[in-house]
Amino acid sequence: MKPILELADSHLQLTWEGDYLDGWSANRQRVGVYLEKHRISIKTESGEVFYLPYQELRQTQGFYEGEPVRFEWDGDTPRALVIQDSEFLPSLHRNVGNKASHIHNPANRSLRLKLTFAAAVSSIVIAASLYLWGIPTIASLATHYVPVSWEKKLGAGVMSYLAPPEKLCKNKELRQSVQLIFSGLIPVNSDIPYSFEISIIDSRIVNAFAAPGGYIGLYHGLIEQTKSPEELAGVLAHEVQHIVKRHSTRALLQQASSNILMSALTGDLSGAQAFGLASADNFFRLKNSREAEREADEEGMKMILEAGIDPEGMIHFFDHIKEYEENLPGIYKYLSSHPGTRSRVSHLNILAKHAPEGKTTKLIGNDLWDKIKKSC
């Protein structure tokens, strides 16, 4: 688009062409625009001229390359001036100086690009640090302040879903034996704030889980796989540590805060981006869960040793279950939710070497256990 006045140097050009929208009709009028010292003057084809101080102009478009410049003024349904020529803004700033400092200056676009890049990099750094350090730290700290009564409610909810009364083993002898094995684990003068409740679920699944607030779920399939009561004690010690260390409560808090972060990041984005972030989230959650497993192993082993139970039971169970599971479909696998067993077995072996000298307590005779564990 040609300016009204052809000057040799567009830097000095003061007269421009634009379109005027009166905020009332859909007709646009061609106007001449002149840059003055303190104001812009606009002249319509019918010869009318009006003036606008630069401060009254609101720029609403023309921030990007190729986009016409649009100024608006007046209230709710403003009038507007649209100038197509990309040389207009540079000329405005050269000729008017800081009177138009609130109007976008294309000369600053390279700086804006750098700042945008910096914002992008900072966003990644902030989001990653929040995710990797901030949220886990806050979640760990906050976990200590979650009242046990809340955890109990939460755990009871989980149990009513995963271990409803009609699915539990009713055999009195089995339940009493499991309770006996368990009571050997907890020291009499223990300061653990939870009262534990063990539910044995009638299912072939070889697994066990801990719900917040002191609830432990044992699938009968797992009990059947134990060769001695000491092996079961190892599993129970492991699950008790999940509860005492409040792993699931921490994971819940962490997940809730990650969700808030994710929604901040994906506020305007579509499902696929959210999917990408969710995959990353799952990956790190798995990593966190491995750490929780290792802690439960270590502390569980300490518990076994302190209770004077033979540590070989716990080690055997993991060793044995590893071989057994190789022939099982995924759902029945203890390892599916307890990853990295090979390294865990060797780690447990190292821990067991620190066992104090002395005789270990035999919980129930192995022959008797073989008989009891089959009933449900």
Binding site: T15, D19, D22, G23, G32, K43, T77, A119, L265
Partner: protein, 377 residues
């Protein structure tokens, strides 16, 4: 609030300063001192005759029979806007989210042009923030009702009643949010300074939605195309561009056979036949949409829609979502390039007739993650 500033003035083109209430100054050329009258240098006439014919308002310009939409947005720029939005959202603990949404919308709408003139978006982050807070409170109350349902005294009957009313409340919110969102967005969008608006009463849309939902359920989904077209009819025929109304005369029964065919072909075509149905429905809807005496026409085809959708999904998966800006741009580009308005558009008959709207409906729509636009893909 947004009633036309010029409604009160009968002479809109007179530039009288009293009409605006702000300090724009009208002076005739003679009143300008010589030293301050640059236009003297170029007048008379101040515009070359051929330039004037090309650029000024002229009858041939508006009586052109095909009016197209063009989109100038670029993925890189949108990515930059999004990067700044995310950064500011993180450092403001999420508050900037609303301003960020407005930035994106301003860009996408501002890069869209009709007959060579850009659209403009006038919404602000603050009003979206306030609207969303109000919507959050309303939805929060509903959620509380849901949560409290099992704890209600008075036994199971009361609990079920509370749960059902909470559920119905949510169902009711969807049509309310759709209308609220559309009302807000259109009221903040303008072309050549003229605002769009939506003037349909929300209760009518709630009625259509509830009855239509119920019939669709009772007919195992067979009523759905008729239901969908009724919703579309309500949403389009109550939309305005300034004083000029959009009209819609499509009927769902015209789409019924295609819908049935798509239903039957779902399994043999692994669902891909729906792209063709969607394209056909889109073309049908637009061919029954009018603005004044001009008719819209969509040139979307099933194969092009399928290619767009598949390549967009692929791009998003391969880039872990980072191609989002480009896929959004491609979508808008696709919608713009496949839509045109045919027939004479009488600009002289269009005047500003802006309607007020709050952002609460928009906030509800955002919380419920509703999509309210007339696009496809």
């Amino acid at each position: 609030m947004a009633s036309s500033a010029c409604k009160s003035c009968d002479a809109p083109s007179s530039f009288s300063s009293s009409a605006s209430g702000l300090s724009t100054h009208k002076e005739t050329l003679e009143e300008i001192p010589k030293t301050d009258a640059p236009f003297d240098k170029v007048s008379p006439p101040d515009v070359e005759p051929e330039q004037s014919l090309r650029a000024s308002e002229n009858p041939t310009d508006d009586s052109d029979l095909n009016h197209t939409l063009t989109f100038h947005g670029q993925g890189g720029t949108l990515l930059g806007i999004q990067a700044v939005n995310i950064f500011l959202t993180l450092v403001t603990f999420g508050i900037y989210l609303f301003w960020g949404k407005v930035n994106v919308r301003k860009y996408l709408i501002g890069q869209t042009a009709f007959k060579g003139d850009r659209f403009a978006y006038h919404g602000t982050g603050m009003e979206l923030f306030i609207g969303s807070m109000k919507a959050f409170l309303v939805l929060g109350a509903m959620t509380a009702l849901f949560q409290a349902a099992p704890l209600m005294p008075g036994g199971k009957a009361v609990s079920i009643l509370a749960f059902t009313s909470g559920y119905l409340g949510f169902m009711l919110f969807i049509p309310i949010a759709v209308v609220g969102s559309l009302r807000y967005r259109l009221s903040r969008t303008s072309w050549r300074g003229i605002r769009l608006s939506f003037r349909g009463p929300v209760k009518d849309y709630v009625k259509i939605s509830i009855l239509g939902g119920l019939f669709s359920f009772l007919t195992l989904g067979l009523y759905y195309p008729i239901f969908h077209a009724r919703k579309r009819s309500f949403l389009v025929s109550n939309a305005y561009f300034g004083s000029l109304s959009f009209d819609f005369d499509g009927e769902g029964k015209d789409l019924f056979n295609s819908f049935l065919l798509a239903l039957l072909l779902t399994i043999p075509t692994l669902g891909f036949c729906w792209f063709w149905y969607m394209a056909e429905r889109h073309r049908y809807y637009w061919s029954h949409t009018k603005l004044g005496s001009s008719k819209f026409k969509s040139t979307v085809t099933g194969s092009r829609l399928l290619i767009l959708s598949l390549t967009n999904i692929l791009l998003l998966i391969v880039t872990l979502g980072f191609a989002w800006s480009w896929t959004s741009i491609r979508k808008v580009q696709f919608n713009c390039s496949n839509l045109l308005l045919e027939g004479r558009l009488d600009m002289e008959s269009i005047f500003q007739d802006a309607q007020s709207a709050t952002a609460t409906g928009e906030g509800l729509g955002n919380l419920l993650e509703l999509e309210t636009d007339f696009g496809i893909g």
